[in-house]
């Protein structure tokens, strides 16, 4: 493989890819709510000013406008911060995008605690739960820049509403440029035994590093990336449950309603097995650097390794 590492934030990968897709996909229209410099839709806006609309700080208007454009046949990418896209505008997303099944891609950035210093008001910890519960809404959480772009290739071909959860912070590559995304499929990144860690988004990298730390103690966990949270890879979950004696989920999201819950739903129905959900434990975040917060909430490699060690 000859590819250069990207090691960029998923929001940056999103902005660049979107500007690229604009060239071959004249049906793409992009909307933002006064955060285009942060969500990186400004890259598309500069290239295709006629297919970009900034609605100002009005997230409900953002989703309503997206619905109208989609009703007329456009593929709409709507971006803002995740807390506002999935929180403030939730009911509009449900009624006016998901219910009619419109082709709107809600690609929001600044998800989870890695938002950092802005603090709890801006750290979305509930979005996976909020989007997952809406009928017909697909929920995608990329682990790095490559997966982000792979998911976008899928999204422009797919019809219907999708939520993609993007991050603010730079993240080291998990994949390379050969990566292809398949809806509803997870990926075994590291095959181990006895313990299996399912991770999603920014903390996938940390889960891999945690496995490294645990290896020195003779623990060899399997690490699985779950980028497609809805639909979720039921077969893979069942397979992992049968091959391991203890399962963990890791996410920078509330453990209520997120990846851990989605896995638990599969386990209870198809393969009862013990699952320990690591993530935000029914609490709000706070100000601090991303690294400080990941450490504090035990979502960095050391914290994940410690949590796992403490359970085995």
């Amino acid at each position: 493989m000859t590819n250069e590492p990207l090691n960029i934030a998923t929001r940056v990968a999103y902005g660049k890819k979107l500007a690229g897709l604009g060239e071959t996909h004249p049906e793409i229209v992009v909307l933002d709510a006064d955060l285009s410099c942060s969500t990186k839709t400004d890259l598309f806006a500069k290239k295709f000013p006629n297919r970009f609309f900034n609605v100002g700080i009005a997230e409900q208007d953002l989703m309503g406008t997206a619905a109208g454009l989609a009703q007329c046949g456009f593929t709409v990418f709507a971006s803002t911060f995740t807390i506002f896209a999935t929180g403030r505008a939730w009911e509009i997303v449900r009624q006016s995008i998901a219910y009619p099944g419109f082709n709107v891609k809600i690609c929001s950035t600044h998800s989870g605690i890695t938002v950092g210093e802005d603090g709890a008001s801006h750290q979305s910890l509930e979005d996976i739960a909020l989007m997952r519960v809406i009928p017909g809404m697909k929920v995608l959480v990329p682990a790095d820049a490559h997966q982000t772009m792979g998911m976008m290739e899928f999204m422009v071909k797919d019809k219907g509403p999708t939520f993609m959860r993007l991050g603010r912070a730079e993240v080291k590559d998990v994949f390379d440029s050969d990566y292809r995304f398949t809806l509803g499929k997870g990926e075994v990144l590291k095959q181990g035994r006895e313990i299996c860690i399912f991770a999603t988004g920014y903390v996938v990298r940390a889960a891999l590093d945690a496995a490294q730390l645990l290896a020195s103690k003779g623990v060899q966990p399997t690490v699985v990336n779950m980028g497609s949270i809805k639909p979720i890879d039921e077969a893979l979950i069942v397979q992992m449950a049968s091959q391991h004696r203890l399962l963990f989920s890791v996410e920078e999201h509330s453990v209520i309603g997120g990846l851990g819950s989605a896995i638990a739903e599969v386990l209870t129905a198809k393969a009862p097995q013990r699952l320990i959900r690591l993530g935000m434990q029914d609490e709000f975040g706070q100000s601090g650097t991303g690294a400080e917060l990941l450490k504090h909430y035990r979502l960095d490699a050391q914290g994940i390794a410690d949590s796992i060690s403490g359970c085995i």
Binding site: I57, A58, E59, G119, S287, G288, L293
Partner: protein
């Protein structure tokens, strides 16, 4: 507190700006552009008008203030520290891990922070609730909030404006920072909300248009608002983003970045801090 002269108040506003820029510089991130544009109105409110006891932030009869534009937290914290609600030294903890001075305000009455804000557009309604509570409890306190031009693009703001007028909340006053800037640029390029005063009037508010960086006009408007009966008042202050430091003025870029060391030095000089 009503004895402060215009000169004294102007000096306090300058002091707030010094602390605001120190805080954002020290944190390495944060928002000072809007905190600068609104610093004069905040000073007029806190140091001329607000009925408040810095040594008893739980006092039931205190006037309430909601910072609807939570990203301007540095301005609020600087004002509360200057009032003496907490020690000015704590300002340097701004945005750091473990601080009560979160990036966006977190409800904490001990620190004088009346409400958690940061998600734009919600404060106006919250202020209305506090004003209705005063009516229910037969209290004379007044409720103020700082609204902003960008923040008022949120539909919820106009829902609250409707409610305040419907219930004739004359104990409710909005300070409106019209600096014509939001994150993605000038209001005229992103989303035009003019004419603001006419909109308030159409919603049955008393609207006063002033230069929001002129202390004399600010104090007079606050008095006029308090004397206005039967309807809420909006004080619409035309301001300059980054006001007080020439290199920052009217530049959208300074909405939410820390100043470089060089810019910080210039700012301190222009704000009259001897190095």
């Amino acid at each position: 507190m009503q004895t402060q002269s215009i000169q004294e108040l102007t000096n306090i506003a300058r002091h707030l700006r010094i602390n605001i820029i120190k805080m954002v510089h020290n944190a390495g991130c944060g928002h000072f552009g809007g905190a600068f544009s609104s610093a004069d109105m905040l000073t007029g409110l806190f140091f001329y008008k607000l009925n408040y006891r810095p040594d008893d932030p739980f006092w039931e009869d205190r006037d309430r203030f909601v910072l609807s534009s939570g990203h301007m937290s540095a301005g609020l914290y600087a004002a509360l520290a200057k009032l003496g609600v907490f020690n000015e030294k704590e300002l340097m903890g701004f945005r750091k891990f473990g601080t009560p001075l979160q990036g966006h305000p977190k409800f904490n009455l001990k620190y004088g922070i009346e409400m958690s804000t940061g998600s734009l557009g919600q404060g106006l309604s919250i202020g209305n609730g506090m004003a209705l509570a005063a009516r229910l409890k037969n209290k004379n306190y007044r409720v103020y909030s700082l609204e902003t031009d960008g923040g008022s693009e949120s539909g919820m703001v106009w829902e609250g404006i409707m409610t305040a007028a419907h219930y004739k909340l004359d104990n409710r006053c909005v300070l409106f920072d019209l600096n014509n800037v939001q994150i993605d640029g000038y209001m005229s390029d992103v989303m035009n909300i003019h004419p603001v005063a006419d909109k308030f009037r159409a919603f049955n508010w008393h609207a006063i248009e002033i230069d929001g960086n002129d202390m004399q006009q600010i104090c007079a408007a606050l008095d006029e608002a308090a004397a206005t009966k039967g309807r809420p008042t909006a004080i619409i202050g035309k301001t300059i983003m980054g006001k007080g430091v020439s290199i920052f003025e009217n530049k959208p870029k300074y909405h939410g970045v820390a100043p470089t060391d060089e810019e910080f030095k210039t700012a301190m000089q222009e704000l009259g801090v001897q190095s």
